[in-house]
Amino acid sequence: MDITAVLRESIVRICGVPAEEVTSASTLDDLGVDSLAAAEIITDVEIRTGVELPMDVLRGLSKMETVGEVAVHLEAGVALSPVRTQP
């Protein structure tokens, strides 16, 4: 599964930014993602991919992180964490 593609699609849908503006190098701040929107994006990606972000990553998430960096966290989440909220 291409987690980056799912993440980008979520950002586009939830924040209403044009798809071409969401690159791997754009920070959450650039895209106008505040902590509330970030919460919605993360749960959305988790629901659709079965990933679960570990708590320390979730806690440490900053709006200066790029889309690419968030995607790396999400990909690591697959390996690190049992998916407790999914079948």
Partner: protein, 612 residues
């Protein structure tokens, strides 16, 4: 005097510590046994009749397990004769340990155990300067010596705050603390002074001079800034059995004891064992076991609560501090059919209790499990079982209690007209539903049990200060005390601020907190110390859990269900409201997962008399 020197002077002096602990190692060995572990053991009913030694091992093993000491580095504050660190190294693979004590005899004895991984220091906690950070800290029945009997509750809290701040600075990020605490329970601070009865005189003059147990609330005020609560256990009966075991062991070797310390000391100790057993049996004192985790960042406070600022237990005042009925209705009266789409058939709008292997499809079973869990701890074993549900919602709790737990009569209180209307068409057998604020409630007959799930969040208004909220909580718990039969219990669940800061600014907790609050106008969640200060004069705490993970999963289940029915939901309440609820459920899940907030569950037992 330095700050450390001043703090040290507020606790038990070295001279007073030596009076007790340096009496005679051989005398202590008679009743403590060869392990020389001088604290409450862990006795399990399922074990039959375990030996004192195995009860002590079990206690040490519990802390080793919860603190994850394998390969780690541990500080033991008030290390006694070194039994804990000895076992952590030999049985649990501890890599290195430091024990501190004020007793030269204990330090010598511990060093003679020859465990090369551990070093022992003769020092006060106020003097400790670690060479490197610890993975975990244990403090087993030492807090009683941190604040002397001459201190006021405000001064005690000052000491405990300094202690937990220092302890947090010695721990690595995410490091844990294991506490075993003797606390004042049914006899409060004012009545535990020297000169106030034979028990206080014996303990404070002859056994532990210059010492004083804390009230639980004083310790929570001490730790809440730097630590989050992982686990809390109430085990007074374990100390009752430990004192009995010490009595029995002592009696077998009374002759030797008399040779070692003389007849006067022997008489004093025999009385001390009996008094200790009685104190825990009567719950004048309780024994708590607590696991804490260091917060990523210290929590900040708009108002640092001091015990002297908290309104009196007998009269917490009359001013209302809760959310208004209109504010509560703006959320719950939205539309019954909207909530039915995603809360599921049970219509329970509070956290479920999940098992690991369950999936979102098991929401109903997990909601029932929560009610069953509380019913088993709160309802009397037999009798009429008159129940009050404060904030009864759509009746899910009462329905389960009637169907599965023999509830005969119940009253449900709600402020929501829509919930009342729902229950009028789907009545719960034996239940009367009242559209009424708990502040106005006056039952005809007392209740045997009170339940309240997810209502406490509305008992204090946004913009209030800690002392104002505590006044409101005290009024609630005092009402519960009045409404309950002797021996009655309260089962309560509430969302609470965990890592989130305390602020008296309306809407000031950052975008997540502000957004959630916009859906629950006026309401504000409590902090842990406020809850404990709220119930402490009126109730013993029998069970206390912090279960943020359960609520995170429940939010996910609701969000998933709402998304599946999004079109139907939009037809009922409009697309904009559905969007706001989706965002609120996602935001809430993240807040629970990051422990900005948590979900506390507690079972409280009515005190025979209000504690002052």
């Amino acid at each position: 005097m330095t700050a450390a020197g001043r703090l040290a002077a507020m606790g038990t002096s070295s001279r007073a510590i030596m009076h007790h602990y340096d009496l005679s190692d051989e005398f202590f060995r008679i009743w403590l046994g060869n392990d020389m572990v001088y604290s409450c053991g862990w006795w399990d009913a399922a074990d039959g009749h375990p030996s004192l030694a195995s009860a002590q091992h079990r206690k040490l093993d519990f802390f080793a397990d919860r603190l994850g000491v394998q390969g780690g580095r541990v500080l033991d504050i008030g290390c006694g004769w070194g039994g804990l660190l000895d076992r952590f190294v030999r049985v649990h693979g501890l890599a290195s340990g430091v024990g501190i004590t004020l007793s030269p005899g204990q330090a010598d004895f511990a060093a003679r155990r020859n465990v090369s991984e551990v070093s022992y220091l003769l020092q006060n906690w106020t003097q400790h300067e670690p060479a490197e950070r610890y993975d975990a800290i244990t403090c087993i029945e030492a807090t009683e010596h941190f604040a002397s009997d001459s201190l006021s509750p405000d001064e005690k809290v000052e000491v405990y705050r300094a202690f937990f701040e220092r302890a947090a600075s010695w721990l690595r990020p995410g490091g844990r603390m294991g506490l075993q605490l003797i606390c004042l329970d049914n006899v409060g601070h004012a009545r535990s002074r020297p000169g106030l009865g034979p028990f206080a005189d014996l303990i404070l003059n002859d056994i532990f001079p210059e010492s004083m147990p804390a009230s639980l609330s004083e310790l929570v005020l001490g730790w809440e800034t730097h630590f989050e609560l992982e686990e809390f256990l109430d085990h007074p009966s374990h100390y009752q059995r430990t004192f009995r075991a010490w009595t029995l062991a002592y009696r077998e070797q009374q002759e030797l004891a008399r040779e070692l310390v003389g007849p006067d000391a022997c008489r004093t100790y025999a009385r001390y064992f009996a008094a200790g057993e009685a104190a825990f049996r009567l719950r004048e004192h309780s024994l708590y076991r607590v696991i804490l985790t260091k917060r990523p960042e210290p929590k900040t406070w708009a108002v640092a609560v001091r015990p002297s600022e908290v309104p009196a237990a007998a009269d917490p005042g009359a001013g209302l501090v809760g959310a208004s009925a209109d504010a509560v209705r703006s959320h719950y009266d939205l539309s019954n059919s909207f909530y039915e789409l995603w809360l599921g058939a049970s219509m329970m709008y509070s956290s479920a209790m999940w098992q690991d292997a369950e999936t979102l499809a098991d929401l109903e079973r997990a909601q029932e499990r929560k009610i069953d869990f509380f019913a088993g701890s709160v309802l009397p074993e037999s009798g009429p079982r008159r129940v009050l549900d404060v904030g009864c919602g759509w009746g899910g709790t009462l329905r389960r209690l009637a169907e599965a737990h023999g509830m005969a009569h119940a009253t449900g209180l709600t402020l929501s007209s829509a919930q009342c209307a729902y229950l009028a068409t789907r009545p719960v057998p034996g239940a009367v539903i009242r559209l009424e604020d708990w502040n106005d409630h006056g039952p005809g007959e007392p209740y045997d049990a009170i339940f309240s799930f997810g209502a406490f969040e509305h008992f204090a208004k946004d913009g209030t200060t800690g002392p104002q909220r505590i006044a409101g909580y005290r009024r609630f718990f005092r009402s519960c005390h009045q409404w309950l039969n002797p021996g009655g219990r309260v089962g309560l669940e509430t969302i609470a601020h965990d890592g989130a800061p305390d602020t008296n600014e309306p809407l000031g907790r950052g975008p997540l907190g502000d957004f959630v609050l916009s859906l629950y106008p006026e309401s504000l969640c409590p902090h842990l110390a406020e809850i404990v200060l709220g119930f402490e004069p009126y109730f013993e705490v029998e069970l206390f859990r912090s279960d943020p993970g359960d609520f995170a999963r429940t939010c996910r289940a609701w969000l998933t269900a709402l998304r599946e029915r999004e079109r139907e939901a939009a037809a009922v309440v409009g697309q904009d409201v559905v969007r706001r609820f989706c965002r609120y459920l996602a935001a809430s899940e993240i807040q629970f997962r990051t422990r900005v907030v948590t979900n506390y569950r507690m079972v409280l037992h009515r005190r025979p008399e209000i504690r002052h």
